[in-house]
Symmetry: C2
Subunit: 129 residues, 2 copies
Amino acid sequence: MTISEVSERFGISQDTLRYYERIGLIDAVPKKSGRRDYGERELDRISFILCMRSAGLPIEVLLEYIDLSRQGDKTAEARRNILIEQRERVQEKIKEMQEACKKLDYKIDVYYTKMLSKEKEIMKATKDS
Amino acid sequence: MTISEVSERFGISQDTLRYYERIGLIDAVPKKSGRRDYGERELDRISFILCMRSAGLPIEVLLEYIDLSRQGDKTAEARRNILIEQRERVQEKIKEMQEACKKLDYKIDVYYTKMLSKEKEIMKATKDS
DNA sequence: TTACCACTTGGAGCAAACTCCAGCGCAAGC
DNA sequence: GCTTGCGCTGGAGTTTGCTCCAAGTGGTAA
């Protein structure tokens, strides 16, 4: 799979894909006549990274996790602990966002009521005149 | 209320408070002998901003919203529309994060199973020897 | 053969949101 | 009156995560 296909498929830029490879988030992608040729292995990695990034995990943390992965089975527990910590963070963030969402809901509703009452005023004014 | 008290109360730095004021997210805070003296009005604003920021609303958007607020009632609908759009964004983000959380759960569980089976192996090896 | 195109590299640049700093001012307490 | 502490300002610096660019290469099509 070419870089443009991967870029299209995941909706991220080619630059970002190369950037991830450069910093070691993706292992060196095999090349065909100088061009990257992404395989299943790479696609899986990319999909994992994007999922985690979308949840807000910092690149630093993903790097650490992937570095540990490369060191084999003996790091399984450390990796698990990273995931557990990150899950906690994500859950906390979700809660915060739900709070904010409630506040937004409330405010939106207040504006709605405001507009309704304004409309009534106009109706009344129209009738009066 | 002094800036250090506000900083403490909301868990944000004094620098950030001054920064928010500088860019107009908070209106000029009244001063007592050259020092900021935060009142209820300011605290409410700060609490709103922090809530929205924690949900990921960009400062740009908050600035726009607050600018509209300053222009009075005639901007009510525009403001409401901003809130509606942002609520959509937040909800989408929450969904993404919940997806990621699921993936994390799954992975954590996989590591757990892995560790269990490793433990078993050790038990067996111990027994065999 | 030449033109074109997608792709390569290393490095610079950028946007957002802070964060830090130097140098100053004021007010209280010793 | 002097020091200590808190706060002030304007401006520079930092971090994160990309994004853009110039110059070069290799395969393909006219």
